[in-house]
Symmetry: C2
Subunit: 137 residues, 2 copies
DNA sequence: GACATACTTTAGAACTATTATAAACTTTAA
DNA sequence: TTAAAGTTTATAATAGTTCTAAAGTATGTC
């Protein structure tokens, strides 16, 4: 993703393109594959790959702002150290989870098909379905 | 579940039947339906239903001991307030999740059937599959 | 460019779920 | 009854996350 489209992405979401946001967006969206991360891991990557300083609160703020703007999703999974995973794949999709490495791998929505699903309880409807396939070696 | 089988359950797991463990086991296993709870909520229920005192650490210890003994399972879901859910249903099964109320509802394993599942990556095999059906009103 | 305004970053404090510590207490088996 | 091992407890420590309020920055207008 190039600089101008990064700026557009931010501006069209009502987010001022600050140095920190632009760096984070470049880091997250200049890649082909889905990227799964925790705030802590993102901070480490940013420290390694950029010379910009990021307060931890800024990473939290930015990740939440991106999520609110629809540019990130939060994975509804409780990882090893009570960690929250974020995901650059914002479509409905599923995951392999390797608890040994704490790694998530995407499964496209169309790679899982259901034969049978229970009907939702008492006046509720289905918002979405999340499948986690836990892996072992 | 009656007193003697509570004691058997504890003893056969190598857990001494202390006052606190017996109360918690009675509370958790003297019911027909699955019970989902957080440590905090369990503490509140115990305070309401019993006259025994429970240090918070004891509830954590006991829940973990029961989990280790195979009498409880932990739900791999990140709830609203970063809460950990435990489950008296120790079989492989799935859940409805109502994020409005933070409530879990069991789905038996045989109520969900897959038509298509991706093959696991690179030398890994499937340990188990967890489905969360998120509900809305 | 200079200015006013609203927004953003920041360091540090605060908060909350959970785990660790170590002393007092209880269960168990001899 | 006694000693050893296990358990509970209050409290401190940890760790992920959110809050605060002061300093800094982006933006629109002149
Ligand atoms: Mn650096
Ligand atoms: Mn009471
Ligand atoms: Zn994903
Ligand atoms: Zn359940």
């Amino acid at each position: 993703m190039k600089k101008t489209s990064i700026l557009n992405k931010l501006r069209s979401s009502g987010l001022r393109p600050t140095k920190q946001r632009v760096e984070i967006a470049k880091f997250l969206y200049s890649r082909d594959k889905t990227f799964h991360f925790t705030v802590e891991s993102l901070g480490k990557y940013l420290a390694k790959k950029t010379t910009t300083k990021f307060a931890l609160a800024t990473i939290y703020n930015t990740v939440h702002a991106f999520k609110k703007a629809g540019h990130l999703s939060e994975v509804h999974l409780r990882g090893k150290n009570n960690t929250t995973y974020f995901d650059t794949n914002i479509s409905n999709h599923h995951h392999f989870y390797d608890s040994q490495t704490s790694e998530l791998i995407d499964i496209n929505e169309n790679e899982i098909k259901f034969d049978k699903i229970p009907k939702s309880p008492n006046g509720k409807t289905i918002k979405n379905i999340e499948v986690i396939i836990n892996l072992k070696n």
